[in-house]
């Protein structure tokens, strides 16, 4: 079957066409053919100037991530025919949230820098180095170990789109790989650093990273593990942790979120004042939650029971 590919071309060095443009190629597609195979066919038979990255062609090296029909995918494990039938077209662009270098090749330097920022290596102390790793311990970090560093998650990350300094999901999943390792000796220090600005609390929980990760790493889940580890370690002096604390307190008290009080508790008094203009705008639109008339929900006792139960279990666990 003949299928038309629309590919975003870009070569800043080309004096005649320094701006990005789309070019169409028609490819004879066989059953089972992947997007990567189609790109190889184009570069071998039609246009050898088309640049893209590739190596393993089996979804394990992480080279070939790109945007296909608007979503971050690995070109090498995506079959053309079903994709074409589902989406009604084949548009291929470089990964989002990254600067294009040429055609489908993006600058990965920020990706590696973020990785390096989380100290992506085990740092045992003399005491922790010999901790035995059980099958359950291994299970806890197993997901985070599946990462192939393809950057699909970072490309889809909403928080990264707003703040390019955000450490972003791939590096956070990697961070959990070490924080969650029983042999790690500097877990708390790592969590403190991750709690700083542009760190793990900046994630807005859009779930895109988990949704678009081709290897089931579920970065958001690892971020949540990091967050609860930080709270357990008492690293609370940051907006993110305070937000969660306030949320928990509100639920315990009222059985629901007291959103207005939460802003106050999360940001502190002075910073909350800065939110007054926003509050006024929200009030005008009828969206301002009213702190004084927060009623308790019915069955609040049940909610409190859950909290008591959780606390008791936590104690029990510590005793063991």
């Amino acid at each position: 079957m003949k299928i038309q590919f629309r590919i975003r071309r870009y070569n800043p060095n080309d004096r005649n066409a320094p701006e990005p443009y789309y070019q169409a190629y028609t490819v004879e597609v066989a059953l089972g053919m992947t997007v990567l195979e189609a790109l190889l066919k184009i570069s071998e038979e039609q246009d050898s100037t088309l640049s893209f990255r590739k190596s393993c062609r089996s979804a394990i090296c992480g080279s070939c991530a790109m945007t296909v029909n608007g979503f971050s995918r690995l070109a090498c494990n995506l079959q053309v025919l079903p994709e074409f039938q589902k989406m009604g077209g084949m548009t291929i662009e470089p990964l989002a949230n990254h600067r294009a270098v040429k055609d489908l090749v993006v600058d990965m330097t920020p990706f590696w820098n973020k990785m390096e920022k989380v100290n992506p290596f085990l740092m045992p102390t003399e005491k922790t180095a010999s901790n035995a790793v059980s099958a359950e311990d291994e299970e806890l970090i197993d997901q985070s170990q599946k990462c192939i560093m393809c950057a699909c998650c970072n490309a889809e990350c909403n928080a990264l789109e707003i703040d390019e300094r955000f450490v972003a999901p791939a590096a956070l999943a990697k961070a959990w790989r070490f924080v969650g390792d029983v042999r790690e000796g500097h877990g708390v220090k790592r969590l403190e650093r991750l709690s700083e600005e542009h760190g793990m609390w900046d994630c807005v929980r859009c779930v895109h990273c988990t949704q678009y990760c081709p290897k089931g790493v579920a970065p958001l889940k690892q971020i949540e593990r990091l967050r609860s580890a930080a709270m357990k370690a008492g690293i609370l002096d940051n907006p993110g942790a305070k937000h969660v604390e306030a949320m928990a307190e509100s639920v315990e008290k009222f059985g629901r979120l007291d959103e207005a009080a939460m802003t106050f508790k999360t940001l502190g008094f002075l910073k909350s004042l800065g939110k007054i203009p926003l509050g006024i705008r929200m009030e005008l639109h009828g969206k301002m939650p009213h702190p004084y008339i927060v009623p308790q929900i019915e069955g609040i006792e049940e909610v409190r029971e859950i909290y008591r139960e959780a606390a008791a279990r936590e104690k029990e666990k510590k005793k063991e």
């Binding site: 060095n13 089972g32 050898s48 190596s55 394990i60 079959q79 992506p120 099958a135």
Partner: protein, 541 residues
Amino acid sequence: MRAAIEAARSGLDVAVVSKIYPVRSHSVAAQGGINAALKAADSWEAHMFDTVKGSDYLGDQDAIEVMCREAPSDILELERMGAVFSRDSEGNIAQRPFGGAGYPRTCYLADRTGHGMLHVMYEQLVKHGVFIYDEWHVLRLIVEDGSARGVIALELDTGKLHRLHSKSVVIATGGYGRVYRTTTNALSSTGDGMGLALDAGVPLMDMEFVQFHPTVLPRTGILMTEGARGEGGFLVNSKGERFMEKYAPKVKELASRDVVSRAEQTEIEEGRGVDGCVLLDLRHLGAEKIKTRLSQIRGLAIDFAGVDPVTTPVPVKPGSHYSMGGIAVDKDCQTAVPGLFAAGESACVSVHGANRLGGNSLLETIVFGRRAGVSAAEYCKATEAKPFPDSALREACHSVAMILKRDAGESIFALKSAMNDAMEDFCGIFRNKERLAKGYGKIRELQERYKKAALGDRSDYFNNELLHYLELGQMLDISECILLGAMNREESRGSHFRTDFPKRDDVNWLRHTLVHKEGGEFRLGYRDVSVTKFKPEERKY
């Protein structure tokens, strides 16, 4: 990377140069595992014996001894670095059985052993502050007055050439699977380092020994691991016959890789294939078992062959998998040129001889990678830096400019395709004098056409085509070495099977082949095999 880590640990200033980012290296694809005699009931001697026998007695026993003795401590070192091998129910490192091994001694990280190990190497590079020149393609090894001076590399991003001046160089550029059409190797496995070493005056050893894996998907070359047959999968021909009953009545599908590959090839060549393949039939195992025990394989078959093994047999064929031969080095990874070392699949120590056992090559990369790092560090500490020849960069720039300037000429993709056909048809699983001579003639012809090929992409930025041109040059040289070695070795041993000489011949051929390149011409030489503990006997399983 293992070598770089070791050299950095001893306080040297080290850099890694890689044409793809190091975590993209093809080691990442190794699923099965890595061998080491860890248990009290096992021993390094037993591991050594299995390896020697597997190599069809062509492996150097002094080197094999080093590898098997040092394997356990290297595994533990990997764990200290951060790797977590899969555990058994008692919390010890689990070990699974592998082909050709007398004891279950293969450690693994789920079904992503290579991936886990490679990422740990990257982690340690970052930890030791080793500088990474990523997406820099090495195109010259500089040797002057008989010692290594560094390399010249092309920065892919900008198209610029750079000189990297160093006291020593370790080559670890992997295998050359892409010489063949059907291969389990990555698009980047083009054997560059072997070609570069040849040009630098270092001989290649035992190049005629190429391992073919029996269950590879056609077109993409993706590997269906041995587990599929281990779990009870059948191989059938176009008539629906389970043909392995004929070739290996006892073990059938579980015979060794070379035996199964030859059986498949016979079926295909005698007209009982299905579109040039045979069928791997798993249906009788039932959906339940396929989905739980063989989920990875099922996923690959669906993603890459478009068939679900639960309902449809998967077409498979033999494909090139591993390069036993490579840059000739001693057990300290030293090549013939002082300051130049080699390790991993690009090197030939030789620990695999005529046939590699599964799980031994990841081990080789780790043991000999470390040893290469130690050797290089010792060499650096004992020698003064010598100057980098001025003319070298100029010459390299000139030759690249000439390639880019060439106006009309054949496309390199056509040439590569012709090379793949020649190697697959004339230098594959079954070899004989006639076929090999034909292949050789074809490659010589392609060598000439290569010099006149022209590129469609003349730009500097991320010029993939230029990269592929350079790779093709190395692959043609490698093909020529494989063919030369195969034509002259008039016996059958391990992976090298001559229909006109079907028997092993220890009297004349218990020796390594060496190929040198001098003034553009190839010359053959031979070297004795180190035999220490185990005298050659017939290899039967």
